[in-house]
């Protein structure tokens, strides 16, 4: 838009930097408070010497964050793998078959985009309870996979419709069957969508609170947000201790974010462009 760096650009940049510092206040406050002694009364941004790591040791053991983080990892990884496998597979005939059933099946699946999870909540809860899956990571994994089908199938199908048939035809002429051609030729070509699907789902599932609260709350098998929820209600207002727990719980996602920020931002923007 603007070809040169002018005084106006400079003043605009200065405003933006101030705004960015303001945006960082909650994050800096979170870190700063977690390093204070537990009886500290000073303001969120006031530094206190010497900083202590004692809160971290206590939060780590008392919130059972080790087990909770491991569960969060397991749920996120297994859910994302299944989401990719199921939705990429489903998108293949939905994009390539031109007969009626394929079109109706596509609308049937993406219709789920308009249904809030709350509608299915209690019947699903009763079913999971009857199947003995309450307190099991599988209940949360299954729900993640089912709920994410509409969006992921939608992304893969839209992408596949634009993908030329040339590669598949070449594979066919080389004597490749449909299954092998999908696995070795088509799926690798879907990489851009797979990236978006991985990023959106991994961030969403890692941060999710409602479903694990319902299905894992009160069991020994919680995820990190559910463990934090219990921890905060147990140590009301002991902010330095609570904040140490919060920092531990968000370190994994923030590390991944700052390491892969370009891809992650692109993934979020790309999910909408298809």
């Amino acid at each position: 838009m603007h070809a040169r760096y002018t005084w106006r650009t400079l003043s605009r940049e200065a405003t933006l930097i101030l705004l960015a510092l303001l945006f960082l206040v909650p994050l800096v406050g979170l870190l700063n408070v977690s390093l204070k002694p537990q009886d500290s009364q000073t303001s969120a941004l006031a530094l206190e010497f010497p900083p202590t790591l004692g809160n971290y040791a206590q939060a780590w053991t008392q919130a059972n964050l080790d087990a909770a983080l491991a569960n969060s990892f397991a749920i996120t990884a297994v859910s994302v793998v299944l989401i990719i496998a199921f939705s990429a597979m489903a998108a293949y005939p939905l994009a390539r078959v031109t007969r009626g059933w394929s079109r109706y099946a596509f609308y049937f699946v993406i219709g789920g985009l308009l249904i809030p999870g709350q509608l299915a909540l209690l019947p699903l809860y009763a079913t999971m309870r009857d199947l003995g899956l309450l307190g099991s990571l599988w209940s949360v994994i299954l729900i993640n996979v089912g709920q994410q089908m509409p969006f992921s199938v939608f992304l893969y199908t839209m992408f596949l419709r634009e993908l030329p048939l040339d590669y598949e035809e070449a594979a066919l002429l080389d004597g490749c069957g449909p299954v092998r051609s999908f696995v070795t030729v088509v799926f690798p070509l879907l990489r851009p969508v797979t990236g978006t699907v991985v990023i959106l789902n991994a961030v969403g599932i890692w941060n999710e609170f409602f479903t694990p609260l319902l299905y894992l709350g009160g069991s020994d098998n919680t995820t990190s947000p559910v463990a934090i929820y219990g921890f905060v209600s147990q140590y009301v207002s002991q902010w330095p201790l609570i904040f140490a727990g919060l920092v531990i719980s968000v370190i994994p996602i923030l590390v991944v974010y700052f390491a892969l920020q370009k891809h992650i931002i692109k993934g979020f923007a790309g999910g909408l462009k298809g």
Partner: protein, 317 residues
């Protein structure tokens, strides 16, 4: 529910530009015989039926019954559950709060997101670093962000400290403890957390505007504001549709931050439909009430999504 999940509902709004002309590719396909096995859809459809379709249909059905989740026997009670919902003070407050929260968050987040995008889409040398900072809260666990904000907004928190420091001590108060400000405090948290998401979508829209179009407008003597109003904004229509849809649906489903910041209080000042559904089922054990409220929520989302889609579509044409 985390945003990306809410997100997932948006792209229904897309125009079907990506669709290949079926006639042409269909012919090539039949000729060469690329064959996509139909049974590839089976795992996806099976898990979708089991997790979404069947329980949602049952939810709609059970909203007209006295099903309490335990007894296998139930009977129809007509509209009794809906009558209970609409005569219940908490549920009515939750409906009002949810609509207000969704509307306020949608407007504020889009304005801030668009301004950030315009700022970051400049020649500023730090633009990449700025993007990373503005987007960072988006990946943060909403529950955790809610706790941090509840501390910053507490009577002796950083927000009040800052107000006192600049001589506005009269404005300092218990933001989350006052029924008049609690809901807006939650909106402020949402705007902080998700404006970066709107920014990224607007940025993609801005970068898709051809430079020649803007140059032509400049040559025609358009000022900065009229260029924005008459050239940039109309070309951003697609991004607006997606952003408004995302914010609206995310706001209507709001649960995590409310649980972290106020738990629905003080009184019912920040109760949302989602928190009311959760509490009526799992604190009070009133399944029929909870299910009827969930159906109301579904209808509200469907109506608002349709209205919003229609409005923005008309603007395009």
């Amino acid at each position: 529910m985390a945003l990306p999940h809410a997100t997932t509902t948006a792209p229904g709004a897309r125009e079907p530009t990506a669709q290949a002309p079926p006639g042409v590719s269909g012919k090539t396909r039949r000729k060469v015989g690329v064959h996509a096995p139909w049974w590839f859809v089976v795992p996806a459809i099976a898990v979708y039926l089991f997790i979404v379709v069947v329980p949602s249909a049952n939810g709609a059905l059970f909203s007209f019954t006295d099903w309490n989740g335990l007894r296998p026997v139930w009977s129809f009670v007509g509209l009794d559950n809906y009558a209970a919902v609409f005569s219940d003070r908490t549920a009515r407050a939750a409906l009002g709060n949810t609509l207000l929260l969704a509307a306020a968050a949608t407007v504020a987040q889009n304005v801030v997101g668009l301004l950030l995008a315009l700022g970051v889409n400049s020649m500023a040398r730090s633009r990449y670093a700025l993007r990373v900072i503005f987007f960072a809260p988006v990946v943060l666990t909403p529950l955790v962000a809610g706790y941090v904000w509840s501390f910053l907004l507490s009577p002796n928190g950083a927000v009040n400290d800052a107000l006192r420091a600049v001589g506005l001590g009269a404005l300092a108060h218990d933001w989350l403890g006052d029924p008049d400000t609690a809901l807006y405090a939650i909106v402020a948290e949402i705007v902080w957390q998700f404006s970066g998401y709107s920014m990224v979508i607007y940025l993609a829209g801005l970068q898709a505007i051809p430079a020649e179009v803007l140059e032509a407008a400049t040559i025609d003597g358009a000022g900065a504001w009229s260029k924005f109003r008459r050239v940039v904004l109309p070309l951003l229509n697609g991004a607006v549709v997606i952003n408004v849809m995302l914010c609206l649906i995310g706001g209507l489903k709001q649960f995590d931050q409310v649980m972290a910041m106020t738990g629905g209080g003080p009184g019912t000042a920040t109760e949302t439909i989602s928190t009311a559904i959760y509490k009526s089922a799992f604190s009070l054990g009133d399944f029929p009430f909870s299910i009827a409220l969930a159906v109301v929520m579904t209808v509200v989302i469907a109506i608002l999504a349709t209205v919003q889609f229609r409005l923005t579509q008309r603007r395009t044409s």
